[in-house]
């Protein structure tokens, strides 16, 4: 009896299921038929594992299946729109149901305490696993979004034959700088452009790190044999750059994209001429 204390729960599987689903209903985190199936499968597998492991007194083998199942259930519940709280409630109420049954079965307080403790330890471990799988699902989504943002936020525009422009929107960190540089340089090669305009109107602040990234981009462009103009420098950016003591003297900077384009035209010896109106 002493050894198989948790194994007896298997004999009361149906009762446990009833109590469990009742608690879930009361707490408002149940969702009917679909869940009943899941819960049945979980309770059956879990209690069998418990019964077997109690006999042999070792857990790892039998519980692997249970762990896989509960991770699957929790991620499917996550997708069905349950909140983290409801997800946690699912296993917590199972624990509550089991402890109710245990207290009916075991009359000796010391034994009951020990059984509860043992059961809690096993279930807490499962709780941690569901939490981890929940977090991992979230992190995967975030990682994918980060990739997407860095992909879509760096369009390179061919503004004229031989001139490409790249407006940068948002903060320029080192991983974005790399994406920006890669896109810009590849476009320079593909279009055979000898002038690139980097517009930073959409960059909220320029600190020494961002400035360093800009300087790197300009240097890389020059190594390829193209010239790089930085435009969209707002007055407050000019102020911070000087206050921080950042040296931008080697770089052609312009206040607006329009004046950068004008400079690019000059470099290519092009000029825009206003056409004279033909008067009849």
């Amino acid at each position: 009896m002493q050894n198989n204390v948790l194994g007896v729960l298997k004999e009361h599987e149906n009762k446990l299921l009833t109590i469990w689903s009742q608690i879930l209903q009361d707490s408002g985190s149940g969702d009917g038929a679909m869940e009943e199936e899941e819960s049945k499968e979980f309770a059956s597998l879990f209690l069998s594992a418990l019964a077997k492991s109690d006999e042999k007194n070792e857990q790892s083998q039998e519980f692997e299946k249970v762990e896989d199942l509960i991770v699957g259930i929790s991620s499917s519940r996550g997708k069905r729109g349950f909140s983290p709280r409801e997800n946690a409630q699912y296993l917590l109420s199972f624990k509550e149901a089991a402890s109710q049954i245990l207290s009916e079965l075991i009359k000796d307080p010391a034994q009951l305490y020990e059984a509860n403790l043992k059961f809690s330890a096993i279930l807490d471990n499962l709780m941690i696993m569901t939490f981890e799988s929940f977090m991992k699902g979230r992190e995967d989504v975030i990682a994918r979004q980060v990739d997407e943002i860095s992909e879509i936020s760096t369009p390179v525009i061919a503004v004229w034959e031989g001139i490409v422009a790249l407006p940068i929107i948002g903060t320029l960190d080192s991983s974005r700088t790399q994406t920006v540089m890669e896109n810009l340089l590849q476009q320079i090669v593909d279009t055979g452009s000898s002038i690139a305009i980097l517009d930073i109107s959409g960059v909220p602040a320029v600190d020494s790190l961002v400035a360093q990234h800009l300087i790197k981009t300009v240097s890389a462009t020059r190594l390829m044999g193209a010239e790089c103009i930085i435009s969209g420098i707002r007055p407050e950016i000019a102020q911070t750059v000087v206050h921080l003591g950042i040296d931008l003297t080697g770089i052609t900077t312009k206040a607006s994209l329009a004046s950068a384009l004008q400079t690019a035209f000059d470099m290519l010896q092009l000029s825009v001429v206003k056409r004279r109106k033909i008067v009849d």
Partner: protein
């Protein structure tokens, strides 16, 4: 010993590096090229590195050396066709190849060499402006 071929085209020399460089090969290129410039009194050197997938600090230094040495011999050097990944890596490494003039491709490189020859009187001035 493996060597990189140097082609003579009128006043210019054309070098197309088709293999990945290692130190000895790069050193040989440096001395071969300088000797050839001197022999033919060449006015310009075009080095096409579009097939080169890696340039580290040593090879970068050799390119810089070639540019400076040829200038002493009154020849302009233009490096053309650097791969974007190579350019970014060089910048990250901290090597900006000061003194080396680049162009996007062979055609633009040739144009650049010809224009340099035209203004050979004030080219030194232009150099400093471009490569600070």
């Amino acid at each position: 010993m493996e060597r990189i071929p140097i082609l003579k085209m009128g006043d210019f020399l054309l070098v197309t590096i088709q293999v990945d460089l290692y130190d000895q090969l790069a050193e040989n290129l440096e001395s071969d090229l300088i000797n050839t410039i001197s022999k033919h009194s060449s006015k310009g050197v075009l080095i096409d590195i579009s097939a080169v997938s890696i340039i580290d600090s040593f090879m970068g230094r050799i390119l810089g050396n070639i540019a400076v040495m040829s200038r002493i011999l009154d020849a302009q050097t233009v490096v053309v066709g650097m791969q974007p990944a190579v350019a970014i890596t060089l910048v990250e490494l901290g090597l900006s190849l000061n003194g080396v003039i680049s162009a996007l491709n062979v055609e633009k490189g040739m144009d650049l060499l010809r224009s340099k020859m035209h203004y050979s009187d004030n080219e030194e001035q232009e150099y400093d402006d471009n490569n600070e």
